[in-house]
Symmetry: C2
């Protein structure tokens, strides 16, 4: 149960606020294993709803789920040169099995390109076997030194899509399509707006031709890389001999893509929507959408109110919000807590709507509905409460996205900016800065060393400025492209 | 794609038949990692349907999902004496992380009692926090020397339920309840009948007070332990200091249960229902329930038939079988295969119903429906095909369970049996033998050494013989309980 102490505010210490919300809303807990966390039922419930929705979207775009081994022979990682350089330093290694030293150590998968494309090579013979569109829901391990609940942990849960195509252009289209699916999910379900675009060479996935990313702004104005999609080119196909016979009868290497999102999204949800009272969960992802808090003083009232509350819950659960979904309702019938304490607890846990029901409400055939996002209260007739609650939840879903987008835009800087001003912003309140870039890795690296800000993406067209800066933020030479700079998680 | 060679028959070599069906129906494949398999989309699709159904049943009985770390400190395993003895010899051990030797090696979870009850100890303070009803969907690793696809692999996927209760009796009730859920699932969805009962002391889970099991008979008359449920007593609570304040204000150790089923169930499904043509999937678990095979000779016919087949598929998908489920239909429109070859392939893959549609069928407004379980064909009017197909699928689901139960009963022996005859049976065709047992571990061990048969369970009342044997199968002393003997996977 949540304790009564007030949360640190976001303004006082955003990072402390985040940890307190995650722990006290019981989304997750520290575990006895360094850097590994436990995802508690309230956090896992959000992840389950994310999974379900993403899985439906993957299937609607033709993908099928499969499962590949947790362990990868160490020699596999080494087959793609950039890949091993990127991942080998952060692996966990199994050296003993069944009490014996293994001949070849096994790496706990940090990502599964190598083992998956080794299998694809076995399954794909002809152009008729392409495209091969596979997704895996799995745990992966990366040996991080500094960990944060949900945002960066040694082990995390994710999905990784892996596909093989006959041509470069089909692979590019697939990588782009899945980036779009991620964006639709993040905006439509998480109410978390993102900027999409391409990563620079220095930030792309180890072994990829091109990496695309969805970048979201957290309430401390830092960026969260929320999901990435890679056109892997033929790098892994060549490393694992993934060839096929073309329609013309030739032999060719396949083109691959991979794409993933993880439990990090739960952290992104907290940092996008939480406030100083705690969590706010967008209705579509909330395991509980409505909590009923019955109010009574006398024992007589208690019986009457609880009875009415149970009936109300039953009628709401039956209310068909959007086929085939029903309203998800919890009745908080605990008799060892005052209503006020319950309000605080459910606010901390982020349930979108609170429904207060007392003896006088019952007499008047009404109840009080309180929105978690705005705190606005309204009286609603018990006759139309399903309709009203459904409408409110849909409205909340939209207005949470709008509010997050407005906040992001208010904290974005576009057009000409001096490097001094840029440094000042990055050292201070932070921002998404759309600035000119000459395209040199040197300028990119110097700015990063100097300010800790990085190019999050070269934004896709719709995110670019109407009047972009004409000079490179760092060297002042003519800008060849607009780059989105921010500090990041 | 499945190749054309005939399957080894079950009679020729059951074990070879099993491997061929799993590989050629593309349920799974061998991986480059010793003892680890890849679950391919057709196998994973069955597992996903199993998961969805079990998950609904767990939630309906009050359980919530959570996720605990993959890695367990080696010292944790050692805290419960029987547990470490049972599991330590078969663990995979991570000794290096991020390029460095770890201070304490980490075990890849073989099961999660230790890490989960360590967390429960942190979360549970009062009787008000009980019962705590948690489930986890996860991968686990046990270093097996002899592996078989789905049945015994180094890594497998499973769910593990873990609960804490205030009293012994509540824990016992929970362990029993979940055994019942497993049975309902296995019989109601897998069409796989099981015998339930208690394990003997020598076969119970390492660290448990009592283990209950569901035992199914495969077509080679061997038993498959399909799911187990354990009353763990206070063994883990004492090892991990999982205490709570009782309503009376005292301090007491909690009582735990754990229960699990795994991807092994997919193997059980194959060995329960497969035939010499391949797999037969019970309709409720079939990713595809109906495959439409269009038939044409001329190009004109092809256009007409494919057009009609697409319309038929659309109308079937819209057919509401049982709310909110729709018929799951695949149209095999490949133009590089003859219908006969398609029939064989879909029989191999086990799709419950085949729908053949040719030009003359369209003229007559009809189609041919073929049941995979019996091979029976029937003409059906296109006007009522959704209704007919739905009814057939329900009938198949029931008749597959009946057929499997009849087969089991035909291969079960009850009442007095001499030890010589018992040995003969176990060396020959095998059976479920309900025999008398004096209760001594010595008789149990000697029979096992002698015949490789083990006591699968001490059967629950409804499975016991009306006239049980009165003497112990081995020593001839008076029987104190009836035991179910079989060789097992």
């Amino acid at each position: 149960m949540a304790d009564d102490k007030k949360l640190t505010t976001r303004k006082q210490d955003f990072s402390a606020w985040y940890n307190e919300v995650v722990l006290r809303a019981e989304l997750a807990d520290y575990s006895p294993v360094r850097g590994c966390m436990v995802i508690r039922p309230d956090g896992y419930g959000i992840w389950e709803r994310m999974q379900r929705q993403l899985d439906d979207m993957f299937k609607a775009t033709g993908h099928r789920n499969a499962y590949f081994p947790l362990f990868i022979p160490q020699s596999f990682l080494a087959k793609e040169a950039e890949h091993v350089e990127g991942f080998a330093p952060e692996t966990a290694v199994v050296t003993h099995g069944g009490g014996k030293l293994l001949e070849e150590p096994l790496v706990v998968r940090p990502t599964s390109e190598t083992i998956i494309y080794a299998m694809f090579a076995k399954w794909v013979q002809s152009y008729r076997d392409l495209p091969l569109l596979i997704n895996q829901w799995a745990n992966v391990v990366r040996w991080e030194m500094r960990t944060r609940l949900f945002l960066r942990t040694l082990e995390f849960l994710w999905q990784e899509g892996h596909t093989a195509h006959a041509t470069h252009d089909e692979a590019e289209e697939e990588a782009r399509r899945m980036l779009g699916v991620y964006r639709d999910f993040m905006e439509g379900y998480m109410a978390m707006p993102v900027v999409t675009g391409q990563k620079t060479n220095s930030e792309r996935f180890a072994g990829a031709l091109r990496t695309f990313s969805c970048e979201a702004m957290m309430q401390d104005n830092k960026a969260l890389q929320a999901g990435t999609s890679h056109n892997l080119g033929q790098n892994f196909a060549k490393a694992f001999d993934l060839k096929f016979q073309t329609e013309a009868g030739d032999e060719a290497f396949a083109w691959n893509t991979s794409w993933g999102v993880s439990t990090r999204l739960v952290g992104g949800l907290v940092m996008t929507h939480g406030d100083d009272k705690g969590l706010r969960v967008p209705p579509l992802l909330a395991p509980t959408e409505i909590v009923i808090v019955p109010i009574w003083r006398t024992d007589d009232d208690k019986t009457r109110v609880l009875d009415a509350a149970h009936k109300l819950k039953a009628s709401l659960v039956d209310w068909e919000r959007r086929e085939p979904n029903r309203l998800r309702v919890h009745l908080d019938a605990r008799d060892n807590m005052k209503p006020g304490a319950k309000y605080c607890e459910w606010e901390l846990r982020g349930v979108p709507l609170r429904l207060e029901l007392g003896p006088r409400d019952i007499d008047a055939n009404q109840a009080v509905l309180v929105r978690r996002d705005t705190g606005v209260k309204q009286m609603v007739s018990l006759d139309s409460i399903g309709e009203e609650a459904s409408a409110l939840l849909e409205e909340m879903q939209d207005s949470m996205l709008t509010a997050a987008r407005d906040r992001r835009e208010a904290n974005s800087l576009r057009g000409e900016i001096t490097y001094d001003r840029f440094r000042e912003v990055m050292e201070g309140e932070g921002a998404f800065v759309y600035a000119g870039w000459c395209g040199s890795e040197e300028c990119e690296r110097e700015i990063k060393e100097d300010t800790k800000a990085t190019i999050r993406v070269l934004p896709d067209e719709e995110f670019r400025s109407a009047e972009p800066a004409t000079r490179c933020l760092k060297c002042g030479k003519p800008s060849t492209m607009e780059a989105l700079w921010a500090k990041a998680y």
